[in-house]
């Protein structure tokens, strides 16, 4: 198959942008309030803005500012932030096998873009555009989050309390929409249920950030469950199906037509080794 062959699965740049703009908007609204809060807690507008650019993780940045506002030392805030960010280790590995790799700077740059939104959008929608979705969502957040932080930090209280606009519900609503593809498979449902249960159960008893990391065990629990009858309808053959059944993977690949050159070559590799 010639490398320039574009399958019907490719989405236009405009279509991808339409997908990512709502994320950028919600992130920007929160960036505004972060900027205002950070300055109120004693950071300079420059420090608040630079933090958004180099950390790029809202939850941890709010945790950092929270520690400062409560009179804690900046390093303590950094430690709290790192715990909140522990889950990105898992998200990074989740997206890694779909990334093309390449030079170390390229890998680190892709690593920089690892976010809840970028990984979830890329893996949930799946297909040929996975990497484009990941990077586009990532850069949208970089621009939206940093820009809005700057406006909030330098511009003062511009929108007031995000809660008035229900923006604190925008994120769980958005994450629920991103979670939807996994809920169509049995293993995905188990992973989600166990993960949510663990997070809620542990929240009162362990420091912030830890419940989310512990929730990763939900994925382990899901592996103990056999793939369901509904699994395999998802674009990604690895999701919820027994990937060791080579013929099963090949059947699905040929039924969909060739929509992912990389996965077809992997199927060929497996058949080659067994053959």
């Amino acid at each position: 198959m010639p490398p320039s062959f574009r399958t019907p699965g490719h989405a236009s740049a405009r279509a991808l942008l339409v997908e990512t703009l709502p994320i950028g908007a919600a992130v920007a609204a929160y960036g505004l309030s972060y900027g205002v809060l950070a300055v109120a807690a004693g950071m300079s507008p420059l420090a608040a803005t630079v933090t958004s650019l180099v950390v790029l993780a809202g939850g941890s940045q709010f945790a950092f500012v929270g520690v400062l506002a409560a009179g804690g030392a900046p390093l303590a805030g950094a430690m709290a932030g790192l715990m909140v960010n522990a889950r990105y280790l898992a998200f990074g590995f989740a997206i890694a096998s779909h990334l093309p790799g390449g030079s170390l700077p390229r890998r680190v740059l892709d690593g920089y873009l690892v976010l809840d939104e970028s990984v979830a959008l890329a893996l949930g929608r799946g297909g040929v555009d996975r990497v484009r979705r990941f990077r586009l969502a990532g850069w949208t957040v970089v621009v939206g989050w940093t820009g809005a932080s700057a406006v909030g930090a330098y511009g003062g209280a511009l929108i007031g309390d995000p809660g008035t606009y229900g923006l604190d519900a925008a994120f769980p609503a958005g994450f629920l929409a991103l979670l939807a593809p996994w809920l169509r498979t049995r293993r995905g449902r188990v992973a989600a249920t166990v993960g949510a249960g663990l997070a809620l159960g542990l929240a009162p008893v362990v420091p912030p950030g830890v419940p989310i990391v512990a929730a990763a065990l939900g994925a382990v629990a899901a592996m103990a469950v056999p793939p369901g009858a509904g699994d395999g309808g998802h674009a990604d053959p690895a999701l919820g199906t027994d990937t060791e059944t080579v013929s099963g993977v090949h059947d699905r690949a040929s039924a969909r037509g060739v929509d992912d050159r990389a996965s077809v070559s992997r199927v060929d590799d497996r058949e080659g080794r067994r053959g």
Partner: protein, 102 residues
């Protein structure tokens, strides 16, 4: 002290985020490991949804986010587009707060 703390948070966070892509990008994980890793977002996203709907730091609170996320869940079940789900979630929560609760 402030800038050192920011640097610690930035470098630490990048290390967390980039370990996966640096170590494993472009390579093929063993099938069962790959299946497990691709179930991680399901568990983590669900945890984030739960945490951001009913938790407030270490305590549980039921507030205006709950009806907002409930309506969003309905919209997701009805296959509404992403932007509409987010808008409904935020909008319902805002309206409930406007009505005086949560």
């Amino acid at each position: 002290m402030m800038w050192i703390a920011i640097a610690v948070l930035a470098v630490g966070t990048l290390a967390l985020k980039a370990t996966g892509p640096v170590a494993a990008a472009g390579s093929e994980l063993p099938p069962r490991l790959r299946t497990l890793v691709e179930l991680l977002p399901a568990a983590l996203l669900a945890a984030l949804v739960a945490n951001q709907t009913v938790a407030d730091g270490a305590s549980m609170t039921v507030d205006a986010r709950v009806p907002g996320v409930a309506v969003a869940a309905l919209a997701v079940a009805l296959r509404a587009p992403f932007a509409l789900v987010v808008l409904l979630g935020a909008g319902v929560t805002a309206l409930v707060r406007l009505a005086g609760w949560g």
